[in-house]
């Protein structure tokens, strides 16, 4: 019955019948998860604790090792698990982070183990709880799949396409699938979870059973990126900090940046980013020249000393897209997780982490309600809540707003002599955007620069970025302190690199060799 994957479960054929749903009662509960990426695998693992049978439907075939997967275009690119996602993953599958590290993944504290040149300057090495785990997507998927599916509680159907839902606008009763070379078949399910990612057809499937439209918002970024793996020089391969060169603030110019992260097997993964008109090339010379043109040469210098492995891989599907399934009258027995619901610009590195957070929330909801009507009533809203923080951060950082905001004024009574238009809010969520005056620019610049050296502001900033806290955790007294005190001097590039002894030593040797 199964497609014969290494993760195929041990479900007996007597309980996992297929075919059109019958009128007989189904004593065994069954969940079907569509999409075998990280979100789907984690959802399936969670459901295995609550459903008698769980089927994971994957259109692709899993690679036998930690390699990119054909059906996952992102898998050639940089993937990091941020702290919030790593914690969630370990809560779901205890020991997974240790297993990743044991297999060559790297943990880097933020900004303590990172060399970050932001638009406002270089970060100092500051210890915070924020961190990221860097490895190839292939390794992460393999480690997670083994731990999530290796127990045999989930039956995996590879090479199987999901064709649509069965049921009506009130209740989903199953899913129609097509295994390679076989006619379509219907699989009965008490719960169908769509985890098919950015290419999800869920709105069309729902329309097919008579359910209402799904509201959708897209926020374009204009961003493209290109990625290449390198074999790192042996002495620096694992000692390298995570390196991030953010775009500068020059107006009217494409925003260009780069990241370099260590991954398993002594390799580095380099990603170059650029907005419209400044997209990174994918040819050898162009890729190198682009890196050399950035605000600082450190990434280009490191690339020059490393050995390229394979092609440069481009990626352009960076739009932030959210489908508000939670606002629709979803049929019972259906839920959407991961990028199929909320897909943020991959440059924010939140996709895998939000998938893990969503799976953790699914587990909590299942523990509270089991699979049944009380679960379905609020499940989608609960899942959406887990993605909210990432979504808001992404669209704010990508410089767009999706909701119109009302003007709020205080102390205004039009026509009156004294208080006419006395005060106007220039910030806050309910104020319209306008050009900031010099005072605002000064405050914003000082705050941005203060977080480069203030441990408390950096902890708050990276805590938000890595999904371990929200922006209400910012220490407001620290903001007052940095605005009224003497600003810390900004680091030069040399000083910033000098914070990382191995990197600094390598650069000194390189310079000595070059100058004879």
């Amino acid at each position: 019955m199964s497609a014969g994957t290494p993760f195929t479960g041990t479900v007996s054929t007597g309980t996992l019948s297929t075919g059109t749903s019958s009128a007989r009662p189904h004593p065994m509960s069954r969940a079907v998860v569509l999409g075998g990426g990280l979100a789907g695998v984690l959802a399936a693992a969670v459901l295995a604790g609550h459903a008698d049978e769980v089927v994971l439907v994957e259109g692709d075939r899993y690679p036998s090792g930690p390699r990119p997967r054909r059906g996952l275009p992102q898998s050639h690119h940089s993937h990091v698990l941020v702290a919030g996602g790593a914690r969630a993953l370990d809560a779901l599958l205890p020991g997974t982070v240790d297993a990743l590290l044991a297999n060559g993944a790297h943990l880097r504290g933020l900004p303590g183990d990172a060399l970050i040149f932001s638009a406002d300057g270089w970060f100092r090495r500051l210890r915070t709880d924020a961190h990221l785990i860097s490895c190839t997507r292939g390794l992460l998927d393999q480690v997670v799949r083994r731990r999530a599916l290796g127990g045999g509680d989930v039956e995996v159907w590879e090479d199987t396409r999901a064709l649509g839902l069965t049921g009506d606008e009130a209740r989903i009763t199953g899913v129609s699938v097509s295994r390679r070379g076989a006619p379509p078949e219907t699989v009965r399910a008490d719960l169908v979870v769509d985890a098919t990612g950015r290419r999800s057809h869920a709105p069309r499937w729902l329309a097919g059973v008579g359910a209402g439209d799904i509201e959708e918002v897209s926020v374009a970024t204009g961003l493209a990126y290109a990625t290449r793996l390198y074999q790192a020089p042996g002495d620096l391969a694992a000692a390298i900090p995570a390196i991030m060169l953010h775009p500068g603030t020059a107006k009217g110019q494409p925003a260009r940046g780069a990241t370099l992260f260590p991954v398993e097997d002594g390799r580095w993964i380099v990603t170059l980013t650029g907005t419209r008109g400044g997209e990174p090339p994918t040819d050898e010379q162009g890729f190198t020249a682009f890196a050399r043109s950035l605000r600082h040469p450190i990434v280009a210098d490191l690339m020059a000393e490393a050995t390229p492995l394979g092609a440069v891989w481009p990626y352009r599907d960076t739009v932030n897209r959210r489908r508000f399934f939670e606002r629709a009258r979803l049929p019972a027995g259906f839920a959407v997780v991961g990028d199929a619901a909320v897909a943020v610009n991959p440059i924010h590195s939140h996709g895998m982490s939000v998938a893990a957070l969503g799976a953790l929330r699914l587990r909590d909801e299942l523990a509270r309600h089991g699979i049944g009507p009380s679960l379905f009533a609020g499940l989608q809203a609960a899942l959406a809540a887990e993605a909210e923080r990432s979504w808001r951060m992404a669209i704010e950082q990508d410089g767009q707003r999706v909701t119109a905001r009302a003007t709020a004024r205080i102390g205004e009574r039009a026509g009156e002599q004294v208080t006419e238009g006395v005060a106007e809010r220039a910030g806050g969520d309910d104020a319209p955007r306008r050009e900031p005056n010099a005072f605002e620019r000064e405050i914003r610049t000082r705050l941005a620069q203060a977080k480069l050296s203030s441990p408390r502001l950096a902890a708050a900033f990276f805590g938000v970025q890595t999904l371990i806290c929200d922006d209400t955790a910012t220490d407001r007294s620290e903001i007052a302190r940095v605005l009224t005190g003497r600003p810390e001097p900004l680091l030069t590039g040399e000083e910033a690199i000098g914070q990382h002894p191995a990197l600094a030593a390598w650069l000194r040797l390189r310079f000595a060799a070059a100058t004879g």
């Binding site: 205080i410 102390g411 009156e416 002599q417 006419e420 006395v422 605002e440 007052a480």
Partner: protein, 103 residues
């Protein structure tokens, strides 16, 4: 009750009036000429009455109806500032003020 600028507020005179930043809410505010004038008076005098007196003198002269209206508007403005956490009400300082007034 006296008035004082909240310690959470950073403010600066600009060419367009006074600009404020509330470090706890993260909100920016800008005051027009009249609002800026009230703000300065609150900062320097710290009491409602002198603020109202000086504004009435400057705007209303001997027009009592206008004076009443200005008093109302200043109260409203200060109330809004208090509500926003930009200005705080504090118990009046007794001995210090008396000593200062004697010198």
């Amino acid at each position: 009750m006296s008035l004082r600028i909240s310690e959470a507020v950073i403010w600066q005179e600009t060419g367009e009036g006074i600009s404020l930043y509330h470090t706890e809410t993260g909100d920016f505010h800008s005051l027009n000429d009249t609002g800026s004038r009230i703000w300065r008076l609150v900062a320097s005098d710290g009491e409602r009455e002198p603020v109202m007196f000086k504004l009435s003198r400057d705007f209303a002269g001997s027009n009592s109806a206008m004076s009443r209206r200005i008093v109302t508007d200043v109260e409203e403005f200060i109330g809004a500032m208090i509500e926003q956490g930009l200005i705080e009400e504090v118990p009046a300082e007794e001995p210090a003020v008396k000593e200062e007034s004697l010198s």
